[in-house]
Symmetry: C5
Subunit: 326 residues, 5 copies
């Protein structure tokens, strides 16, 4: 599906008099005066993608990658174009989960083709930002690369912040006095962190290459901006590492607390049992059949026995309470 | 055993008028017009392999390696040929196990010798693909190297996907409320992941060397294709790493759940015991032999005692139910 | 907020006849005779920072970073200035916590702009040190960079020393015979250590670059001094690593001690139970209704039974005491 | 002790007319026609070693190392000779242990001095192999280096295979239903694996240097052979790493199984206890002294009570059996 | 405190006619004929150190480091001198602890200043060794650097050997059948190992630089000797790593053994309880008040009941003994 296809010239979106799908016309009208076309596709069919690939001379392998999705983030340089794969991440509040999509960018001197799988807000945001930032857009296709990378990576930081909140919740839950079953939650968070890591870490290499200013087709002047993106990636990676470590620590503490609780329970149970078996012993004593047991014939022998039972239980109760077993 | 031996010329398999075993004739008829021979062997005897080695001038050490199998994936460059060892992997559904085989490739200017141990579907698939892809096959022996690597590595991704399903099952089992004994399953999966890793990781170096275009005898134009293979290897390695981490997490959660279950059991047992010992205490009380125990002479004293027992048990039952111990 | 803005010339703070905010005037009066301006800002508003940025030609991205804070420590080199981000750390005694702030330094040939978030004692200390060390201050803006880095990193070592004390306390608590709940404390310390690490580790790269003497604008003669800073950073990192390892060890020991305590408790409980159930059995025996039980008619049968009970309990008590169960 | 000292020339062991200890004569008779001497020592005394050192001009430090043994595997290059230290490993079946020895090689243009500590089968095997492989032996001292390295490293693979069997046994034991105490076995295996690692890992560097063909005195033509040795070392290292990981997994599974067994025991015990305390309660009930307890005067009241006891136990038994507690 | 200050010339300690503190005189009398001064200080006061620093032109930062101690091992190269920091280690038998000291060496063309904190045996040993080894001492200040490094590093190996013995003891204790509390011991050893690591690891870099022969002022001829020191350092590091891993394994085994012991205890307790509760049930049965209980009127009914109790206990005892619970 074509989401949007436009020609940009001199930092402005220009109206061209041809059909969305007439890529050759778009391209020639763009190249004419130093502009470029940006064709935005969303989960294109093989045929749609094939047409675009033919029009812009995209490399067969890259087109295949963009079609099947499920690639690692990577940067491929071909003779006259580059191919960039980015993972997009977003946090779904309802089920505390991180979901992933993919953006593929084909970038040549006079064109950008973006192929998106999954949620699109980031690409739309990038396009809107650029259409309002003439001074950036004048740098041509490079500006699209930067804008897309920047918005995608900013989203990583948001997702990481959401995860951080989740970790804080887990922490609180683990160290609360409630009997919580945090291990499932911790496991899920660790799995999501692994997801984030697989989006973030492999992207650093491509961004560093952009930041070095040595990728043909990407403006060397944009280097500081890509350094900034690298920095954000590194920050995301560091925070995510810290979160992972914290979760491991929280899990350990959870294990310890299970053990401690079991011990507490055992003590409580034992103390409770003592409150019952001691009177039982006393009852047993007065259930003995000796001929000569003075208490048995006392007027208040029965009451005495019951008081003895209650008394012993009370003493034990006090004793266990004092030593923290109850 | 010779599985297949054929001469390829100009992207086509050509019929030659000589015996399968007459390697010299095959080779000369291939070299004649810029073609090459591909001799496919399956667990050859020392003699079979020796003949082939003599005919194509294979290096003694490489031949030894190909015969004994159980090598690490590696690439050896000799003066006029290269020797490549790949591990093949396949997933056996019946027993959820990963099995491994080995493919050894000797590649010269005008020949390819493939020596296979274990299942062969991948080699056959590669040959079939090539025989239907004239444009690839025209690149000579390089095309065979690529086709074999590509199909072998694609199989890795399939195996990894199967393992991912297994891990999902384990996950579900661990977090179910059933008392499962997942540790054996987790152990087995970890062992299989180690197996996959030993096939995948050492292969990256050879593939990178191909991708750099600096291995003599392998077409520099094939570089992007080998970069794609490297990419798939890296992806397989990353997924497998994630699976390993997830399994460790799942094991930890399993341990925690064993502890929690033990605690739950202990509480249930204690609560159950309380239901019995309290009535026992009451019975003990009315078993005492005091002369003056008014209840003993009541008309419904016995019923009263039984009701007291039942009542105390009922109260305890309600109490333990409410606090989640039963 | 402007904290302090001053002109330094020849190693001296000089009084200039212009307003604190008149950066252009400050700068020109400084540049005049080989001096420099140091403008110190504390959590400036966007407008305040904008004015400063305009006056000294600071890079847009760096200014954004300095405004939002929450950056990683880093060094950015622009054409005519450098931008350095440092994390500040301090230990809050009341709640045994490590808190973090941030210092951003913009350094040009004739100016230093420091933007601080969080506690400021370190910047003030650096400025005071410099104003009393003419021989250092004469080296210009470099001297400010050094003084700030040095005081900030010295503070790291202090924080690390405080953490070391905390770890010592935890250690003592874990190996005491008391039933302590150390896991929360250990977790918190590990989180604080992670915090310190994120301040210390990324700063090593910038300091090494200063120490190499290759950063334009930073005096090559200062190299040994920055090597010293690198050394302190490395020391802080090493100690912090050791502390982390020790905490992991302490946690393991804590887990082991929970298990041991549970076992001790179980033994104590069992021994205690034995002291009750054995007399109960004896009582049961003498509660049997046989026609011929000689003891029952003994004059002191009852006393005998009680003595038997006490005796058996005493024997058991002695036995369990001896074997360490009680 | 001199084990063997011989002169080799043109790929043959030649008889020379001088005493074993007359190193100078041996050397001159060897050097004469492009041959070399191989002096084999076993745990030489300081004096024996000193004589050899003088005769061949061995470096003082190397001689000291060879005498004291307990070195790490390493390669030292001196002006006119090299010094190589290898660890030998062998598996002692009786006590499932790995033992280590040491071989020190001094190699010059016209001599090899081997100093052995511990078992010698590998050195003897190397010498025998060489004396039957004229084409190898003609390469001079290099051939000795290769033959020794090759046989020593082959032995590593054998030891590793033995360890693999041990690990398989442990695995089986851990996952059997028997109550095994595998942790000591696992610990011992881990210690032996550490031993193997310390022999294998440091040897890779020297072998790589030989394989690079840049060590003077070692034939560059031997490079592919040393690459093969490197390969075997890498394989040994990889397998040993995998074994270590598997053992860790097996230990974890062992821990889990201890917990599961404890839980099973606790359930069994509780169920068993229920079978006794319930009849005890019934007995208690009929031991009560109420005046009006109809059952007491029944003809078969006693039998009824016993049947009630048996019946309740039977019901409980069936119940616990069904729910898997017994 | 000045421990010793002497002039060496031509490999000999020479008597000079000036006061210990007259550094200028000492230095000139040494430099005169190609000799050097070695001033040995022990925890000098700031004034003492200042005098020495002035006399030999030591770098301010290095002097500060030497005064405060608590540095990491490091090598600083200044224009005309080098500054080396080494940690000294010794094992205190009484409390099985590793203690650390520090040696700081300032080395110029004609002087060595050693500043020691903590035990001094190693420095004295180095000086004594040199004064008896003329051929070494003639190499000037380099020889002091080597002698000090060598003796210090040799001490590391001794400490490591002592730790190895401790680990062996722990191992034995963990796998003994005694109920040992090894976790504190293991923790302490791990802390000491961390201490050793912090002395050993950072020293490798300086020693490698000496071994490369590229440090001005240190004789390139000494390279093989420093390679030997590097080797010993690497060996110490490797052993210490192995010990750390073994301790982790021992701790795991300790945890497992605690669990196993708890299980054993639980079984023992349960079996013991069965021996009491079964007779209690029997007593309860014969305490029932049925009118018709034939046994009650038997002549030897009481004896029969007691025998029944004893018999049931005996059977249970035999049963539990056989199944290993008692």
């Amino acid at each position: 599906m074509i989401v949007d296809s436009a020609v940009y010239r001199g930092g402005q979106r220009v109206l061209v008099d041809c059909h969305d799908h007439d890529y050759a016309a778009l391209r020639s009208s763009a190249a004419d005066e130093g502009g470029f076309v940006w064709v935005g596709l969303y989960q294109p069919s093989e045929i749609e993608l094939g047409e675009v690939a033919d029009a812009f001379g995209l490399h067969k392998l890259a087109v295949e990658d963009a079609f099947t999705a499920h690639q690692r983030p990577k940067l491929e340089q071909y003779d006259d174009s580059i191919f960039l794969v980015l993972k997009t991440l977003w946090y779904v509040d309802e089920d505390d989960a991180v979901e992933t999509g993919e953006i593929n960018l084909f970038v040549g001197d006079d064109f950008v083709v973006s192929v998106r799988h999954g949620r699109g807000s980031r690409l739309r945001a990038a396009r809107e930002y650029l259409e309002h930032a003439e001074h950036v857009l004048t740098h041509g296709p490079s500006s699209v690369v930067y804008a897309v990378c920047d918005t995608v990576v900013d989203a990583y930081l948001e997702v990481v912040a959401d995860l951080q909140e989740d970790v804080d919740e887990v922490e609180e839950s683990v160290f609360s006095n409630d009997r919580t079953r945090d291990s499932a939650r911790i496991y899920t968070l660790k799995r999501e962190i692994a997801e984030v890591r697989r989006a973030v870490l492999p992207l650093r290499e491509p961004m560093r290459r952009f930041a070095s200013g040595l990728v043909p087709g990407v403006d060397a002047e944009a280097a500081p901006f890509f350094r900034d993106v690298v920095d954000h990636l590194t920050q995301a990676a560091e925070v995510v590492d810290t979160l992972d470590t914290l979760l491991s620590g929280a899990f350990d503490a959870h294990l310890a607390s299970i053990s401690v609780q079991q011990n507490d329970d055992m003590r409580k149970i034992s103390a409770g049992a003592a409150l019952v078996v001691t009177p039982t012993l006393i009852a047993g004593v007065y259930g003995m059949n000796f001929d000569h047991m003075p208490e048995l014939s006392w007027q208040y022998g029965y009451a005495f026995a019951l008081l003895l039972m209650l008394g012993s239980s009370a003493v034990l109760f006090w004793f266990f309470k004092r030593s923290g077993w109850l």
